[in-house]
Symmetry: C2
Subunit: 341 residues, 2 copies
Amino acid sequence: MAIALDAMGSDHYPEPEIQGALMAAEALGIEVILVGDQSRLEPRLSVLNTRNLPVSVEHAPDVLEMADKPVEAARLKPRNSMAVGLELVKKGTAEAFVSAGNTGGVMFNALRVLGRIPGVARPALTAMFPVRGGHCVVLDIGANADCRPEFLLQFAIMGSVYAEKVLHKPQPRVGLLSNGEEPGKGNQLVKETYPLLVKSGLNFIGNVEGKEVFNGEADVVVTDGFTGNIMLKSSEAVAKLITDVLREALMASWRTKLGALLAKPAFNHIRKLLDPSEVGAAPLLGIDGLVFVGHGRSDARAIMNALRVAHEAIQANLLVNIRDALKEKLSNLETSTPENS
Amino acid sequence: MAIALDAMGSDHYPEPEIQGALMAAEALGIEVILVGDQSRLEPRLSVLNTRNLPVSVEHAPDVLEMADKPVEAARLKPRNSMAVGLELVKKGTAEAFVSAGNTGGVMFNALRVLGRIPGVARPALTAMFPVRGGHCVVLDIGANADCRPEFLLQFAIMGSVYAEKVLHKPQPRVGLLSNGEEPGKGNQLVKETYPLLVKSGLNFIGNVEGKEVFNGEADVVVTDGFTGNIMLKSSEAVAKLITDVLREALMASWRTKLGALLAKPAFNHIRKLLDPSEVGAAPLLGIDGLVFVGHGRSDARAIMNALRVAHEAIQANLLVNIRDALKEKLSNLETSTPENS
């Protein structure tokens, strides 16, 4: 069982990828194929991999950079490390692909190389939101700015399978992001999605607002890619504002500096809560293959965690479970709709 | 110049309202008409108002509570304090209305009693977001879940006038909330609104994301009421999660407790940043009268600040300025559209 890792993805590629791959191979016994520029990867790997861990290199001459426009870049650089890595999954040489690179680039290449799971209207980007007591799977966070109710239903089914099989949450609680908890609240999309989720057979807990999400009351939250992206970016920005202002205020006097020193364990708590490297990576759901995207700022530990998550998805047979759940829930819905409406 | 204050609005009514009214009358020379249950207000006022400040009572027998459904409640309780207070504005007895009550209730009553400014398609709820270096006016944050591009254009015009005339920001920077800064990013609504804002004659700075908003790079941010509400509630929830987790972690040991004590001035900084009572209240824009809504948790100081803001809006001739700006910008747009397209 091998995982293809984009060696040219993170902001500081390829060092975090090389180190993270070796850590995952050593600690978790994962076989990793580093995909990227051979001339940069092999010399470094031969110095570091003194214990001959199962980490190999697959050459990809091109790099899709963070600032690149995904569609153009993928066209101009067909042998970029994402495309080459995804082809390893297509061929069955690898069972999953992991990248800490340009999310739009991964999505575009994944759609082109692996395509969608049959029956899936739109694949979704997911994010693991830090919430009280753990994490919450939120989707879509940016792949589909305009959605239809059926898309959100599919997101809910896929997110629920992911939460159950990979995050080991039995009967995941699925919430629909809205501007009010009461049924009937929401924009047109939410109002039309609500009855589909009620009939879906999922553990649908109704509409949720920010309060419920960050209080850890849902395991999966579905929304359109525009709203999800706004929620993600706003949350990150608020967290940054608060921690920045606090840091500056703590540095303002000797008294507060001393206080900060003593209170350090508490601040570490916050840092850990907000640290994306704890999560590693989030899946692209709806792609016909296991594809995970990590944060651009990933360090070696984040890469190792990303590989761990991909490994768990392989072991959980995620793709088969998603295919089966889509088939079952969507056919249930088709047969139940005429009776209930 | 008198301001009608809903005396039965805040979570702990009428005490914060009575105290806040007296503070505003004393410190700012504002004449306040407390609107609410005479039998509760007058005895309390006669005890407290020993200096005979210009604070009077207008009787309203009903209360529209926080948990009430606005439309039903307004129908069942036609003499609620909001309706009575807004009628004072309608009659010219008061020049503005302030409430810390049920926002939907204020909006519903305001639409019924005062109506819309001629030409305004939809009035908007606004919120003052705490951002780096001050506050940002965000609208709509919940009145209109589904919007059309023209609504957002009107929000932008009204928000810009408010930022300029009441918050004293020359040439307010107007941003369009989107899932990406580049022009062309966004959902259908954003893509269609963008060119209207370009041609509006406003100081339009383009699409903004959470990062720009909380970094204080825009004075006014426009969005539909669904997305705005999600951003508002998520931001509040993230701030609460971080401060709660930090507080709990600080209480975990003697060392961190001592640290917290020494670092208290820094924590006060954060508290002040997130404290809605600093802002007082936010306007309903598009209503044909000056109407302000404060936070349900308002204390006396928050009520005083709400009255101060309303007072500034009166002095700035906000309503006339909004009417003029709408007339000017919208007619500009009509004449410029054929040439530019």
